[in-house]
């Protein structure tokens, strides 16, 4: 496997940051030279996700993880992408190997939090996501995403008066509330 050298990768990142609108074409040119570089596939997947091309984004993220199964951040982001696509089962399968990260690693903690979220165990989800944010110092944009989820959970649970179990009577009455004749 020949990897793109760091200088070219840095140039690529600088060009993308310049936001000229040809980011995908630039990554594709680099990929033509280094088709097995998982970082380029990951970058391509992230860009495609950002511009609303989800089907191709998923393929690119999967290619990154297939080329480098230990590429932890790519694996986490692939799972997160699957989760946000409503594919919770796929996300959990993708994240499985992250359980081998050291105890207390922020990605492992985020996965624990999101797994609680999938099970609707909101208090435990918030606890783990907060813990992950507190320990993550290397990927700050991820902290912002997780904070958004915590905020959303807070909104949801704030309005929860504990009456989610509908009584048989209200169910029966509700059944006929939308009649048009």
């Amino acid at each position: 496997m020949t990897l793109c050298d760091d200088i070219r990768l840095q140039e690529l990142m600088t060009a993308i940051a310049a936001d000229k609108g040809d980011e995908i074409a630039q990554v594709d040119r680099a990929l033509a030279d280094f088709p097995d570089d998982p970082r380029l596939h990951f970058l391509r997947g992230s860009l495609l996700a950002a511009i609303g091309r989800p089907i191709e984004a998923l393929s690119a993220l999967k290619a990154a993880v297939a080329l480098a199964p230990d590429f932890a951040i790519a694996r986490f982001q692939l799972g997160f992408f699957q989760l946000t696509s409503g594919e919770a089962g796929d996300a959990l399968s993708t994240w499985g190997p992250l359980a081998l990260l050291p105890d207390g690693h922020y990605l492992r903690t985020f996965v624990a939090g999101l797994t609680y979220l999938i099970r609707d165990e909101f208090a435990a989800a918030v606890e783990q996501l907060r813990l992950g944010i507190a320990t993550n110092e290397e990927n700050l944009p991820l902290n912002r995403d997780m904070q958004l989820i915590i905020d959303r959970i807070s909104e949801l649970t704030a309005g929860d008066g504990g009456d989610e179990t509908m009584s048989a009577t209200s169910l029966l009455l509700g059944q006929f509330s939308g009649r048009s004749n």
Binding site: P54, I55, S85, L117, A125, I153, Q175, S180
Partner: protein
């Protein structure tokens, strides 16, 4: 009724990505369940196009027929749409559905128009359930089974889980018979327990009003197979309801 409580997955699901996931599965992984989910998602669009044409019609045409043409147009659009081009499916499908409805109206003979879509669906259903064997061991029991099967069909048509083609809500009033409501509730519960393909055939035939040919197209099955699944689902419902 109080809206369904939001789940943890709802919080993080992005609708655009979730729909893209359905398209990916339907188009590139040949997943007929995702295709059915997409069809169900856009059926309201097909009905609204049919309703507009119903308002413009110049001769007696059954609204159900227009809906069949609209469903046909929707199925064709599902096959031809390229999810990688970034055009929203609704914008792509609407003119194609409208075109199919207009073409279908032109093709219809006066004879076709006289036979309502509902009657055609019932004929199709009857053919699927019959014929009774030439010499059944117990003719009376065989006839009774057929009668129950046809009655089940009528009840399934009126389970009220979906709005009928004419927009009238036919759910029972609180004053209608308790026994009727209980049987209907039992049918609804049993529908959930049917094998996936049988459940899909029943839902699409009785609730959406699709012909067997369109269901075959939707689920990527042969028309004969859809007819078999219909028959076996009705028989299964009949057997299970006997235990209620």
């Amino acid at each position: 009724m109080k809206p369904t409580r939001e789940t943890g997955l709802d919080i993080v699901t992005d609708p655009v990505r979730a729909e893209a996931s359905l398209w990916r599965r339907a188009r590139f992984e040949d997943d007929s369940r995702s295709r059915e989910t997409l069809f169900n998602r856009y059926i309201v669009l097909a009905r609204s196009v049919a309703a507009r044409h119903f308002g413009w019609r110049r001769r007696a045409v059954d609204r159900g027929d227009l809906e069949q043409f609209a469903y046909e147009g929707l199925l064709q659009a599902l096959d031809r749409y390229d999810p990688l081009l970034g055009v929203p499916f609704g914008a792509y499908a609407r003119p194609r559905i409208a075109g199919n409805v207009a073409d279908g109206m032109k093709r219809m003979s006066d004879l076709d128009a006289q036979l309502s879509q509902r009657q055609r669906l019932r004929q199709e259903r009857m053919r699927s359930l019959g014929p009774i064997e030439a010499a059944p061991a117990d003719p009376l029991a065989a006839l009774a089974d057929l009668a129950v099967d046809l009655a089940l069909g009528l009840m399934l048509e009126g389970t009220g889980m979906v709005e009928q083609a004419d927009g009238v809500d036919r759910r029972p009033t609180p004053y209608e018979g308790l026994a009727w409501r209980q049987t209907q509730a039992a049918i609804a519960a049993e529908l959930e327990r049917l094998p996936a393909n049988e459940g899909a055939v029943i839902r699409q035939h009785y609730h959406t009003g699709l012909t067997f040919a369109h269901i075959a197209d939707l689920l990527r099955l042969t028309r004969g197979r859809v007819s078999q699944l219909h028959k076996s689902a009705i028989e299964r419902l009949r057997r299970r309801l006997r235990h209620h």
